[in-house]
C-alpha cells in the first residue's frame, strides 16, 4: 500500500523547514538578480561557473567539518576545536611546502618535501588532536564543550609556534588543485565534499555505527549496559571530526595558497554547529540528519551570497545572517512546529469531513 501523504508529520520535521527556508532565500536572490540561476561554461579552465556552483563550492569547508560535527552533536556534545584544527592543518601543510630559499627567492612551483607528506601529515596531526579530545571526553568523562575548549585556545598557539608566527606562501601547483582545481567540470572542493559526504553517509547508515551514535547520544549509560562500547564510539567520532577538519584546512589553505594562523577557520566551529542545528539535528543529542546538515551549510552560504548582492560589507553580513538564522530557528522551535502541525491536523480533519 502506498504511504499516505501526511502533512502533519511533514510540518513537524525540521528538515522541511530548512528546505522551505532555502527555497525562500533562493527566490529572494532570483528577484534581486534575475540571472541568478545561470550557469556558464568556461572552456579555458574547464569549469562551470555560476552562483549556485559558487555557493556549493564556498560552503564545502563548513560542510566537510559539519559532517563530523553532526555526529558529535548527535552524541550530545559540541566540538569547539575544529576552527583551530583548520589553522593547524594549514600551518603544517605550508611548513612542508617550503622550498630551497638559496635557489629561488619567490614562491613558485617547487617544494622540498614529497607531496604526500603535505597531505598526510596535517591529517594525521588533526586525527591525533581529535583523539586527544576523544580521550578527555571518553576516558575522563569531561564535558565535550570544555574538553574541546582546551584545543580551541591552544590550537592557534600551536599553529603559530609551528610556523614561528610567520605567514608562508607557496605556488606549488599540485597543492593548488585541492582548492582551485577542477574535475568533471566542477570545482575540486565540491568533488571532495561529495566524496566525504558519501563516505560518511555510507559509514554511518550502512553499518550500525549511526545507530550506536544515536544510542550513546540518547543515553550513554544504557547503551554501555546493552553492550555498546561507548568509549570507542566517542573516540571514533572525535577522531573523524579531527580528520575532516584537517581536510577542510587543506582546502582552505589551498584556496589562499598560504597559511594564516590567526584567521584560518575563524568561527568555523560556530558555522558548523549552526549548519547542523539548522539541518534539524537537536543539540541535546540523539537523532541526526546528514542531509539536513549539508542543507544547513548551503543555507548559511546562500545567505552570505544574498547579502553580498545588496552590496553590504562582508563583516556586516553577520547581522543579516543572524536575522535569517533567527527566523529559521524560531520556525524550527518546538512550540512553533507544534502549532503548525496542530493546524495542519485540524485542516486535514476538516477535509476528511469534520469532527471525529
Amino acid at each position: 500500500m502506498k504511504k499516505r501523504f501526511d502533512l502533519s508529520t511533514l510540518m513537524r520535521s525540521k528538515v522541511t523547514w530548512a528546505v522551505v527556508a532555502e527555497v525562500l532565500i533562493l527566490l529572494v536572490c532570483l528577484i534581486v538578480r534575475p540571472d541568478f540561476f545561470t550557469i556558464s561554461y568556461q572552456p579555458s579552465t574547464g569549469m562551470l561557473y555560476g552562483n549556485l556552483i559558487d555557493i556549493v563550492n564556498r560552503s564545502s569547508e563548513i560542510t566537510i567539518i559539519a559532517m563530523g560535527m553532526t555526529l558529535v552533536i548527535a552524541l550530545g556534545g559540541t566540538d569547539l576545536s575544529v576552527g583551530a584544527l583548520v589553522a593547524v592543518s594549514g600551518a603544517i601543510a605550508l611548513k612542508f611546502l617550503r622550498w630551497d630559499v638559496t635557489v629561488y627567492n619567490t614562491p613558485g612551483d617547487y617544494t622540498v618535501s614529497p607531496f604526500f607528506l603535505v597531505l598526510v601529515v596535517p591529517m594525521l596531526v588533526c586525527i591525533l588532536m581529535g583523539l586527544f579530545n576523544g580521550f578527555l571526553i571518553a576516558k575522563w568523562e569531561m564535558q565535550p564543550i570544555i574538553a574541546t575548549l582546551i584545543l580551541m585556545v591552544c590550537g592557534r598557539g600551536i599553529a603559530q609556534i609551528l610556523t614561528n608566527g610567520k605567514q608562508f606562501t607557496t605556488g606549488y601547483s599540485p597543492f593548488r588543485v585541492i582548492g582551485q582545481g577542477s574535475f568533471l567540470f566542477l570545482p575540486m572542493p565540491i568533488i571532495i565534499t561529495a566524496v566525504v559526504v558519501a563516505l560518511v553517509s555510507l559509514f554511518v547508515r550502512k553499518t550500525a555505527f549511526g545507530t550506536f551514535v544515536e544510542s550513546v547520544g540518547i543515553n550513554r549509560k544504557a547503551s554501555r549496559l546493552s553492550g555498546i562500547n561507548a568509549q570507542m564510539i566517542i573516540f571514533i567520532v572525535f577522531a573523524l571530526t579531527g580528520f575532516l577538519s584537517g581536510i577542510s584546512g587543506l582546502i582552505y589553505s589551498s584556496r589562499i595558497m598560504s597559511n594564516d594562523s590567526n584567521n584560518a577557520g575563524l568561527n568555523f566551529e560556530m558555522d558548523a554547529i549552526l549548519a547542523v542545528v539548522i539541518g534539524g539535528t537537536s543539540m541535546t543529542g540523539g537523532k541526526f540528519s546528514l542531509v539536513g546538515t549539508v542543507l544547513g551549510s548551503i543555507i548559511i552560504r546562500t545567505i552570505v551570497t544574498l547579502v553580498y548582492y545588496f552590496g553590504i560589507a562582508s563583516e556586516a553580513t553577520m547581522a543579516f545572517k543572524a536575522v535569517i538564522i533567527a527566523v529559521v530557528i524560531v520556525l524550527q522551535s518546538e512550540p512553533v512546529r507544534n502549532y503548525f502541525s496542530k493546524r495542519a491536523n485540524a485542516r486535514a480533519k476538516l477535509a476528511n469531513g469534520g469532527v471525529k
Binding site: W140, I150, V153, C154, E315, A319, A322
Partner: protein
C-alpha cells in the same frame, strides 16, 4: 557567652572546611603558587610590587565584569556567547555617538544599556519559551551584535570626549602616611574607574547569588531545572532575568573596555566570550550548572591575567605561548575538578553504604 562564641567559631570553621569550596581553594592555591613563582623569578624586576598587582585588575577589569554575569549564566546551566560582541557594540555606540554624532556620552551609555539588557532579556525569553538551546540562541545574538557593529562602522573610531576622558583618566592612588603627611607610595599604584566598577559588580554578584531568593533560584535551576519547576520556583522569570543581568554585565564590560582603549572597533574583543568562560571555569564553575562561586571567578580572572603578565616580565617568550599556557591551565583545572568530583562521589557513596549497614 563563651559557649556561643565557641559554637559560632566552630560553625565558621566547618563552613570554611566545607568540601563544596574545594574548587575555589584549588584556584586560590594555584594562583598563589604561580604568584610565588613569579615573585621568585622576576621579583627583582618588580613583580611583587603593588603596582603589578593592581595592573592585573586594571588590564582585565572588563573580563572580570563580564565574568560576573557569565558565572550566573553558567550556574543556571546555560551559556552566553554574545558577551564579547555586545561589549564591542557598546564601545561602538559610545565611540560613534560621541565622536561622530556629537551626542552626550551618558545618552550613548543609556542607549547601550537599553540595547544590551534588551537583547539579553530577549535571548532569555527565546531560550526559555521557544526551547532553543542557549548555545544557538546566544550565537545568533553574537552574530547580530557583530553585524550591527560592522554596519555602524568598519573602521576604528577614536573617542574624543571630555567626560569620557575624565572618566578614563580618573585614578585613585594608594597613599601612605609618612612624616606627618599623606604621600603616594612608591612605585605609585592606583586603581581606576574600571576596577571600582569590577569590584562593585563582583560584590553585587556575590550578594545576589548568596543572599537573595533570586540567587538560590539560580542554583536550584542549575541543579535540576525539572525539580525547580516542580517545586514551583519561577524558572522562566529567573532564567530571563539572568540573561538580562548578563546583558547588563556585557554592556558595563564594553564601557570599561571603551574607557581602557578609548576607541570603538567592530572587531574588538573577538573571542572574548570564550576567554570569559575560561575564567569562570578556572574559577571552579561547572558548565553542567548548579555549582560555582563569584570568589572563584575573581581568582579565575586574576589567574588568567597573570599569564600575559608573566610573559611580559620574561620578555623573551612570544605572545602565543600565552594561549598554550591558558589551555594547559584549563586542562589542569578540569583534571582537578574531575578528581574532586569523583572523590566526593566516592565519599558520598561510602557514607550511604555505612548508613545502610547500620540500619
Amino acid at each position: 557567652m563563651s559557649d556561643s562564641r565557641n559554637s559560632s567559631s566552630r560553625s565558621l570553621i566547618s563552613s570554611i572546611m566545607n568540601p563544596k569550596f574545594i574548587m575555589v581553594y584549588a584556584t586560590v592555591g594555584i594562583f598563589l603558587v604561580i604568584y610565588l613563582f613569579g615573585a621568585a623569578a622576576y621579583g627583582s624586576k618588580g613583580f611583587t610590587t603593588l603596582r603589578t598587582f593592581t595592573n592585573l585588575f586594571i588590564d582585565n577589569a572588563y573580563y572580570g565584569i563580564s565574568a560576573v554575569g557569565m558565572t550566573m549564566v553558567l550556574i543556571t546551566g546555560g551559556i552566553d556567547l554574545s558577551v564579547g560582541a555586545v561589549a564591542s557594540l557598546t564601545g561602538m555606540f559610545i565611540a560613534y555617538g560621541t565622536s561622530v554624532l556629537g551626542l552626550n556620552p551618558w545618552l550613548c551609555i543609556a542607549f547601550s544599556l537599553v540595547v544590551g539588557v534588551g537583547l539579553g532579556l530577549l535571548m532569555g525569553w527565546v531560550i526559555h519559551y521557544l526551547n532553543v538551546p542557549p548555545f544557538i540562541t546566544t550565537l545568533t545574538g553574537m552574530f547580530l551584535a557583530r553585524g550591527v557593529c560592522a554596519l555602524i562602522s568598519r573602521e576604528s573610531i577614536e573617542i574624543k570626549n571630555e567626560t569620557i576622558d575624565a572618566l578614563a583618566s580618573w585614578k585613585l592612588y594608594f597613599m601612605q602616611f609618612k612624616d606627618g603627611e599623606w604621600v603616594r607610595i612608591r612605585p605609585s599604584a592606583y586603581i581606576n574607574f574600571n576596577v571600582i566598577l569590577f569590584l562593585v559588580m563582583l560584590l553585587l554578584g556575590i550578594y545576589l547569588l548568596q543572599r537573595t531568593r533570586f540567587g538560590r533560584n539560580i542554583y536550584a535551576i542549575g541543579g535540576n531545572e525539572q525539580s525547580a519547576k516542580l517545586m514551583g520556583l519561577p524558572v522562566g522569570r529567573t532564567k530571563i532575568l539572568v540573561y538580562g543581568f548578563n546583558g547588563l554585565c556585557s554592556v558595563l564590560a564594553g564601557i570599561a573596555y571603551a574607557l581602557y582603549v578609548k576607541s570603538g572597533w567592530n572587531l574588538s574583543l573577538q573571542g572574548a566570550e570564550l576567554d570569559v568562560i575560561t575564567c569562570a571555569v578556572i574559577g571552579g564553575t561547572l558548565l553542567t550548572g548548579g555549582e560555582g562561586y563569584m570568589i572563584g571567578t575573581l581568582f579565575g580572572v586574576l589567574l588568567k591575567s597573570m599569564i600575559p603578565a608573566l610573559i611580559t616580565f620574561n620578555g623573551n617568550l612570544l605572545s602565543w605561548w600565552g594561549k598554550i599556557a591558558t589551555g594547559l591551565l584549563l586542562l589542569l583545572f578540569i583534571c582537578i575538578q574531575k578528581i574532586v568530583v569523583s572523590s566526593t562521589e566516592r565519599r558520598n557513596s561510602r557514607t550511604k553504604k555505612t548508613k545502610k549497614s547500620k540500619a
